[in-house]
């Protein structure tokens, strides 16, 4: 990487390719390149090694700008409610299994709500995770209105002294207006059961996704109060660079990452480590 002794067009081409391959997308890639070229024209960059170092810093700045509030697990009144949303197959149900396990180990009394009442064996799948995490599951009737399951789960949590409720919702495409409205209703109805709920709304994004993830973040945030991202499948070969486009364009922070299919494969997002892996 540092073979060339001068900062020239081929260095910028190499940088462009690295950023594009990491799924940062055309817009964010060109913004970073432009900021490097500006720094170079101001004589701030001495050599290629310096360019790469500055690039790492500027990339990290994009993430630092959106801040890093931890996941809400405690509120003044009643249980904290975490709603988990995202497109089909992104890893919501699995991530909830991991979260239930983590928070239960940390001493929380967790209740998981099976509000995906649509997909084949969705409730069965969540049930297995709840057994593994040793956490109770609240389920509704088959094909029940998801909002009613959210409502009933929060009511039950209040009545039985749970301090944390995690809502699993069905996968849906952000382009499906009917399903996005259904999701808004789940949030509204949760607030009826407990003002302020959902206190945390996590958008689950698959690290293998390309530029469509930006649209997902925009539209999900229009329907529900998304507060953070869970970036899954980072144990694979994809870099997940689209979260940089989301950080710079929409301002949503990544709070957690999924690094495997086991219950313990969940980590807090570490921006410095993420940037390091990006350029690895």
């Amino acid at each position: 990487l540092f073979a060339g002794k001068q900062i020239d067009e081929s260095l910028y081409e190499e940088i462009e390719e690295v950023l594009l391959r990491a799924d940062l997308g055309v817009k964010t890639t060109h913004e970073l390149l432009q900021s490097l070229k500006d720094a170079s024209s101001r004589k701030e960059l001495a050599n290629p090694a310096h360019v790469w170092k500055t690039l790492r810093e500027k990339t990290q700045q994009l993430l630092d700008k959106v801040g890093q509030a931890p996941v809400v697990t405690r509120v003044a009144q009643g249980p904290a409610v975490i709603m988990v949303v995202g497109v089909n197959g992104s890893g919501k149900t699995t991530s909830i299994g991991k979260l239930a396990h983590r928070y239960s180990k940390e001493g929380h009394k967790v209740l998981v709500a099976a509000a995906d009442t649509f997909r084949a064996a969705a409730v069965d799948q969540l049930e297995v995770w709840c057994q593994r995490a040793d956490v109770p599951i609240h389920r509704g009737k088959e094909n029940a209105d998801p909002a009613s399951v959210c409502f009933a789960a929060i009511e039950r949590a209040k009545a039985e002294g749970f301090d944390l409720v995690i809502l699993d919702t069905a996968g849906r495409l952000h382009t499906n207006q009917g399903l996005m409205e259904e999701l808004s209703k789940c949030a509204r109805v949760s607030a009826k059961a407990l003002p302020g709920a959902p206190h945390e709304t996590l958008l689950v994004l698959d690290a293998t996704m390309g530029q469509n993830a930006v649209k997902q973040a925009e539209l999900f945030r229009e329907s529900v109060p998304v507060t953070g991202i869970v970036l899954t499948k980072l144990d694979g070969t994809a870099k997940g660079g689209v979260v940089l486009a989301i950080a710079s364009g929409i301002g949503l922070p990544v709070k957690l990452i999924g690094v495997g299919e086991k219950m313990s494969d969940l980590r807090d997002f570490d921006a410095a480590l993420f940037v390091e892996e990006l350029f690895d």
């Binding site: 997308g25 055309v26 799948q125 049930e127 499948k233």
Partner: protein, 302 residues
């Protein structure tokens, strides 16, 4: 040179223009940006641009003509080039063999679904079963995902909805399941048997070897890579690895009912030669369509 200038001047008089480097410079940049935004892989974009540029340079295109009413119609040379790109995309993505490859002679046609986690394999297996059952074929599904919680249950629910048998044996490993499932399909006179396998990472050596073992045990007529239309640059790494390990005959591109551009279709085709055979257009078991290269080409070019 004199002859080139003379020829192009004569062309211009007749309403023709030659596609040259400077005419194409800007539109090439726009096409490149569009393909990258459509999630076509970086190397594939480079290769594609180089190919169409070679095709287009020197082409003489009509920029001025008269329509039926004698009115002058102008078409920019750049628009001709975009049409060349579109046609090239269609030509590249069009499958030589549309649909499934059916076994010639006796015995069930065997189809195995493979792909990354969450791409839509189980649902697509159900959709294929639905499609071919409705065409009068006798279909069987094999639940060879023994890892994901309730994966077998999920396939069984789909099988029940379609009244299609699902072969499953508690505690049995995937290679044995596929081998015995195939035998069961033979014994019950099935025309088609579909193996649903677990989602896996291409860097998971053990799970990739598992696919290799299934391939050793049963002759596979179709190995279909199930790809989420939203996938980004990782499409090439993924497709190459599956192709190298087990050989990909075709692709099912899922979740096209969303607004992902689906550039992965081009990337996968370029690195494996495998075309999209079916498009997943929704969660319902009837939401599977035969692949149309024309439609996807427009979507990718954007």
């Amino acid at each position: 040179t004199i002859t080139k200038g003379f020829r192009s001047a004569r062309h211009r008089l007749q309403g023709y223009r030659e596609l040259d480097e400077e005419t194409l410079e800007e539109v090439l940049g726009d096409i490149r940006t569009s393909l990258l935004e459509a999630d076509v892989e970086v190397g594939v974009v480079k290769q594609f641009i180089a190919t169409v540029k070679t095709k287009a340079l020197g082409e003489v295109v009509r920029v001025r003509a008269e329509d039926a009413q004698g009115k002058t119609v102008r078409v920019k040379p750049q628009d001709h080039f975009v049409k060349i790109c579109h046609d090239e995309l269609v030509a590249l993505m069009e499958p030589d063999e549309p649909g499934l490859r059916w076994k010639q002679g006796k015995g069930p046609t065997v189809t195995m679904m493979v792909g990354l986690q969450g791409s839509g394999k189980t649902t697509s297996a159900g959709k294929l079963a639905n499609l071919f059952k409705s065409q009068g074929k006798k279909v069987m599904l094999v639940a060879a995902d023994v890892y994901r919680p309730a994966a077998i249950e999920q396939l069984k629910v789909l099988g029940q909805r379609l009244d299609v048998p699902v072969f499953s044996v508690p505690g049995m490993q995937p290679p044995d399941l596929c081998e015995q499932g195939y035998q069961q399909a033979v014994n019950t006179g099935c025309d088609l048997v579909i193996f649903d396998t677990a989602g896996r990472l291409t860097i998971d050596q053990a799970l990739m070897d598992e696919l290799g073992e299934i391939r050793r045990r049963v002759h596979l007529d179709n190995t279909l890579l199930v790809v989420d239309a939203m996938i980004g640059q990782d499409s090439v790494t993924t497709a190459k690895s599956f192709h190298d390990k087990v050989g990909i005959d075709g692709v099912i591109l899922t979740k096209l009912d969303g607004d992902a551009r689906g550039g992965a279709a081009l990337s996968v085709k370029m690195v494996t030669g495998a075309s999209v055979k079916f498009a997943g257009m929704g969660e319902g078991l009837d939401k599977l369509e035969p692949f149309r290269a024309e439609g996807l080409a427009s979507r990718i070019l954007g």
